[in-house]
């Protein structure tokens, strides 16, 4: 099993979710994060104080899937999250040793 983690632009969430359910992935977990990268931030001005804010709001999506599905998932996310502009984000894939569904105690791919 693998965990596919994607950092995406927040307004792309619904499209990515739809793409994933389209390929049969019915579970995922989303975290609000701030990203720092090539994408330029903005400037905030509060009276005299001016600051360049370089952390931008992003969403992190985590999907646990059987290894066999990883490529399909990557394609689905890439397809849905891409705008072609700097800051579209990254996908990171890790190995997952073990998974458990708390409710039932089912493990590994049964738990996803």
């Amino acid at each position: 099993m693998k965990i596919v983690t994607a950092i995406i632009k927040p307004f792309k969430l619904d499209e990515v979710r739809d793409a994933l359910t389209g390929i049969g992935v019915h579970g995922l977990t989303v975290t609000e994060v701030k990203g720092y990268g090539r994408q330029k931030g903005h400037t905030e001005i509060y009276r005299g104080a001016e600051y360049a804010v370089s952390f931008l709001p992003k969403l992190k999506i985590e999907v646990a899937v059987p290894t066999s599905q990883v490529d399909k998932v990557i394609d689905a996310i890439t397809g849905a999250a891409k705008t072609g502009q700097i800051g579209d984000g990254k996908i990171f894939v890790y190995s997952l040793d073990h998974a458990v569904r708390i409710r039932t105690g089912e493990t590994d791919t049964d738990a996803l």
Binding site: E44, I45, Y46, R47, G48, A49, E50, Y51
Partner: protein, 486 residues
């Protein structure tokens, strides 16, 4: 001082007057419309302080210090509302000398449902209890204004000590100096007596009495300085105290390097709007009567504020490339500050000009001068209240000019027996100089006095929390609470 008498001050109880024309013969009259207006004006000044000022300030600090600011403002109000009836009113509004008042009304002795306080019209009074309450709210908001300067780093124990001390040693004396006088009825009656005196001896005696009545007033009042609703007493006074305190307590950790994002500009906007709403009680209420002059103060408080807000907004847009909400709201507050001394003296067109000038000057101070000098006046108490107050104080001396649409200054030594008084002759140089002296005395007394008080507190309980605590935030450290759990 044979010069002009001013609209803004506490008249003594009018019941003491037994001589004089019809307006005075039967003692002053009390109109329920005036009483209603002063009741509501008093309430509006409270609204302006809590939640108004508390939110305006609170929204601007980081969320970990939000509650500490709200707490400090709330605490200021409570302390002022207890000290004022105990002895503050007496120390401010009884005669003693030109610098501070006496103790004859301590514990509000003699202040009953029967006693009256004069207004600025001869022969017109309001219940003294209402006057006491109205003035009490001024003490409350003035000391609360200072809190913005040392926000996010001062120990609550230090604040708890500073607030009552500052009221006693700075506010009560300055308010006495600016606002204490014998009142229109006393002056008019004494002047009438001079007029009525039949022979030389009587005239001399009456004149001596008149001089005595005129001399029974505070130092700044005697300068002939005019201040409709407290530009000097409230804004310059608090503004310079804030400046001194932010220098003494030092810069916040990370100041100038880290982004100290306002936790909620929405709260700041609510606060700014409530300041505006409540300020009508402050400015138009300072007229003490529900008449066309209250209407003038109301109108001026609308237009100067709007003009200053737009001035700040457009200048910021031009200079920084964006027009910010914080900018338009801060501009509005700068306009409110500047129009405070002028509210019943300037005309509406003069007030628009005043607003534009104040908006631009305060913008320059808060965006430019502050950064250049590097002091950490966290919420711009100095840049908005002290600078705006000075702009207003000086320009009031000019805009009162009837030839500029101003209302002129009433001369209570020249009233007819019906209580209708002449307007004093106006000389711009004299007036501006009087205004300037008032500004300088306030800056000096409050600046130096605040310095002494803060040093004393620093030597005893200490002014500042430790670096660790400052990082954790005053809300948890001093108050054991967190502002948001969303």
């Amino acid at each position: 001082m044979t010069v002009s008498m001013l609209r803004r001050a506490l008249p003594a109880l009018a019941v003491m007057l037994l001589t004089a024309g019809p307006a005075l013969a039967d003692g002053p009259t009390v109109d329920k419309g005036d009483t209603a207006w002063m009741l509501i004006s008093t309430i509006l000044v409270l609204l302006m302080t809590i939640p108004g000022l508390a939110l305006f300030y609170g929204g601007l600090v980081r969320s970990k210090n939000m509650l500490s600011v709200l707490m400090q403002v709330f605490y200021c109000v409570c302390v002022a509302c207890v000290l004022w009836p105990l002895f503050g009113y007496s120390m401010t509004f009884t005669g003693d000398n030109a610098y501070f008042g006496g103790f004859s009304k301590v514990l509000l002795s003699g202040v009953t449902t029967e006693s009256l306080a004069g207004t600025f019209s001869v022969g017109v009074a309001i219940p003294e209890l209402v006057y006491v309450a109205f003035q009490m709210t001024f003490a409350a908001i003035t000391v609360a204004l200072i809190v913005g300067a040392f926000a996010e780093r001062m120990k609550f124990a230090a604040v708890a000590l500073f607030v009552p001390l500052w009221l006693i040693f700075i506010y009560f004396p300055i308010a006495h100096m600016v606002w204490y006088w014998a009142g229109p009825d006393a002056v008019a009656a004494a002047a009438q007596a001079v007029h009525d005196a039949v022979d030389e001896t009587a005239k001399a005696a009456a004149q001596a009495k008149l001089d005595e009545v005129l001399a029974d007033s505070g130092l700044i009042y005697q300068f002939g300085a005019i201040d409709f609703a407290g530009g000097t007493v409230v804004h310059i006074n608090a503004g310079i105290a804030g400046f001194v305190s932010c220098l003494l307590v030092g810069r916040r950790i990370g100041y100038g390097r880290e982004l100290m994002s306002p936790n909620s500009l929405a709260m700041t906007m609510i606060g700014g709007a409530l300041l505006w709403v409540g300020w009508f009680g402050f400015n138009a209420g300072s007229n003490l009567e529900s008449n066309a002059y209250a209407g003038l103060a109301l109108m001026n408080t609308f237009v100067a504020t709007a003009a200053a807000a737009l001035a700040w907004m457009f200048v910021e847009w031009a200079v920084k490339g964006k027009a910010s909400l914080l900018g338009i709201v801060t501009g509005a507050v700068a306009g409110l500050v500047a129009v405070t001394p002028a509210a019943g003296f300037a005309g509406p067109m003069g007030s628009i000009v005043l607003g534009v000038i104040a908006g631009v000057i305060c913008f320059i101070f808060c965006s430019g001068v502050k950064n250049a000098l590097g002091y950490d006046d966290a919420l711009d108490v100095f840049g908005v209240h002290c600078i705006g107050g000075i702009v207003g104080a000086i320009l009031t001396g000019i805009l009162v000019d009837p030839s500029l649409g101003g209302a002129g200054i009433v001369d209570y030594t020249a009233c007819d027996p019906d209580g209708v008084c002449k307007t004093a002759a106006y000389d711009m140089t004299t007036q501006v100089w009087a205004q300037t002296k008032a500004v300088l005395v306030s800056l000096g007394w409050s600046g130096f006095g605040s310095l002494v008080l803060l040093k004393l507190i620093d030597w005893t309980v200490g002014l500042r929390v430790t670096a660790d605590k400052e990082r954790e935030g005053l809300d948890l450290v001093d108050h054991g609470e967190r502002a948001y759990n969303l």
